[in-house]
Amino acid sequence: MTDVTNGEGRRGPSFAPWLIKTVATLVTVAVTLLGLLFVTFMIGRVMPIDPVLAVIGERATQAQYDATYLELGLDKPLLVQFGIYVSDVLQGDLGKSIRTGQQVTTDIARVFPATLELATLGTLIGVAIGVPLGVLAAVKRGSWIDQVARLVGLVGYSMPIFWLGLVGLLLFYGILGWVAGPGRVGIFYQGIVEPITGMLLVDAALRGEWVVFRDAFSHIILPAALLGYYSLAYISRMTRSFMLEQLNAEYVITARVKGLSEWQVIWGHAFRNIRIQLITVIALAYANLLEGSVLTEIIFAWPGIGSYITTSLLANDMNSVLGGTIVIGSIFVGINILSDLLYRFFDPRAK
């Protein structure tokens, strides 16, 4: 988790501290992103793969080699090279993929919606089950449901996701036949739906192709449930500990003294106080799923950014790997900032 800003917003009507805080946040973000680029840049430098050969191939002449060497700016000092790199990235140029022959940016724009779709559905599942489970575990602390929640969490933290994916595939696809196998959509339905958002479920629904929608749903549900389980483990655990803290607060007693029902006390009072904290947790869980989808995508042959990165990795296609890393890293930072802003926006005490 990035703690981009330290401390919460201050009280007070004056405008200046708020402005300073925002500027400080922006500077921090810029520095963090620059550092991110520096790390990927350095990784690109220390690799044993010759970047020139990667572009022109093994059989090029020395003259071609030298020309490309200069073209890539490899004769310049490291800092200048970094400057060029940063300005390229800022213009959306992540270099060319050797494997696909296309701009990395184009490639990522193509594969990213698939990951987004998977991670979003996974997070929705995680929130829909994890939040009530966490609340219930806190309210009935020490009861069997608390134990179950604890166990669910511990197992989630201990299970290799790629293995669970395999076992899930074996069970629900191989043995029970409840869901479709790997891939995003059955072979007969490929290319039917003209992309709008790039997210197949959404596109199919928008275009009214319900047969495709059903097939796509049958493909996505298992990997999404798998990812959902992982975020559920995290979300329920955090929800529980937030709730425990609130349930001991005095205002909860006040609410009971007023004669409110236990349901109102829990959801109307205690839960209302953790909503803002939960936003942060859910945002973080979402960011983690974008990353966690790397392994899941491989198991389920899901054509997203995770598959893209790993396939490129095995093909020594460094531009794609680093490009993908930058994109995911930036999204990570972005989500963290966003949750921070939401926090400040929604918490009456932070205004």
């Binding site: 005095e250 007693i253 609410a255 003294v257 007023k258 004669g259 409110l260 209302r272 005490r349």
Partner: protein, 286 residues
Amino acid sequence: MSETLLDVENLRVSFTTRTGTFEAVRGISFTLGRERLGIVGESGSGKSMTGRAILRLIRPPGRVEADRITMHGEDVLAATETRMRQLRGGRVSMIMQDPKFSLNPVMTVGQQLVESLRAHEKLARSECRKRAIAMLDEVAIRDPERVMGLYPHEVSGGMGQRIMIAMMLLPGPEILIADEPTSALDVSVQLQVLDIMDQLVKTRGMGLIFISHDLNLVAKFCDRIAVMYAGRIVECCKASELHKAQHPYTLGLLNAVPDLEHPRPRLEVLQRDPAWRDALSVSART
């Protein structure tokens, strides 16, 4: 004081902990009419637990036992949870120490006031709002319309406590338990808040249980005083007859307070006698 609002006999509150059972309240008895009863005692003597036990708000691992807790003759211990919710807020209410913690930080004052009323009366929202604003006016809050839209952190401590009083009196209970309502406030506003509370309680003819560890304050605002020590009532007397108090603990409390009119070179340190702990509780029934 003909009418008995609350009758408590042999109340015990105990907690089961890892190291054994801890008895926070050990068999106390008292009644409350349309009067002001003060409960005084040092920290940990079981004052708050007594208050919460009456509302049946002690949660496990805590346990409440009593020979009798009745409100207007109605058995509280045997009441269903639904009935209990009607009693809480509707018949008995409680004000706690610090409005900073006892008001919900993410709800506006108005939301909390309205909610308190709607828990007991099926009224239209606009009607609730009107009554809430009127109530805020009664606790001497200026510009109540504006205050309705504020969050608790935006009001001062004294104001917060007056809002708390308004909120708790809104559904019209007949008993108010005030658990150290002014200990967290600035000395300058303490008396103001107490006066407002006292005024309201008097004009509505309510019964008040005023919990505090300040014996002089209690003597000033109450009709009767019960002194608690280690979960028992060690002494009970009329406020006007406090100077006749017998128990060494009460005398200790009296002497431990500086007195401007009779300055002493040294304040006495309270000496506790282990025998007090074992002595039987004095009944505060009338």
